[in-house]
């Protein structure tokens, strides 16, 4: 909204299971442009850790512990969890 390099928002990314092992970490503070959506966080994750998977559009994501679509808008301080294929039971 007019501030020099643009307003940024910070989201708290959480990684689990295979994603966590491939990234080598469980938590990331991720900086995104204002107006960023889930899809943007997914692209940024694969830019940082391309070995996680090839297709960002197929990642399953929960925002603040609820599953959300890729066009879901993010807010500052959201918890964005990348959910590998689940295998409980």
């Amino acid at each position: 909204m007019g501030y020099g390099g643009g307003v940024r928002l910070i989201v708290r990314v959480k990684l689990f299971a295979s994603y966590k092992e491939k990234a080598g970490r469980a938590d990331i503070k991720m900086s995104l442009s204002d107006g960023a959506r889930v899809a943007d966080a997914a692209s940024e994750l694969l830019r940082l850790h391309p070995s996680i998977t090839e297709d960002a559009s197929r990642l399953t994501i929960a925002v603040n512990e609820e599953y959300q679509e890729h066009d879901y808008p993010l807010s500052d301080n959201d918890e964005v969890a990348f959910i590998p294929p689940v295998s409980g039971g």
């Binding site: 689940v86 409980g88 039971g89």
Partner: protein, 151 residues
Amino acid sequence: MITITNDTLDTEVITDSVKRDSNGAVVIFLGATRDSTAERKVLRLEYEAYRPMADNQLARIADEVREQWGISDFAIAHRLGRLEIGDLSLVVAVASPHRKEAFEACAYAIDRIKQIVPIWKKEFFEGGEVWVGSQEDACVKQDGSVAVGGD
């Protein structure tokens, strides 16, 4: 009764939590660690969860069962951490006046657990380990050492 725990699952306690004099039928499912999959011999398992989201998703399944079958005598317990062969990873208990509803609701709950609950299972076998559900990530080292994730 919705439980996610690192402790051994106690089938009797879980079953007792759904028993009532008006219920003629109790259906119980026990999920145990198998010693093999289609491909190989399994040595042990490890379960990890995203909490409290996993707890909330289990509570959601209980709500769905209540809405669809009118059943509230319902319990799920899921184990986390390291499991040996034969250990219980999951217990689902459903009680209702008649058996048809209890069978349907129990099978439904397990299907939903495998769809919407953020819990992951890692299989350890001779020469490697793999997070189940993302088999393309299998990391079997030919020298027999255990892969510890990463790229």
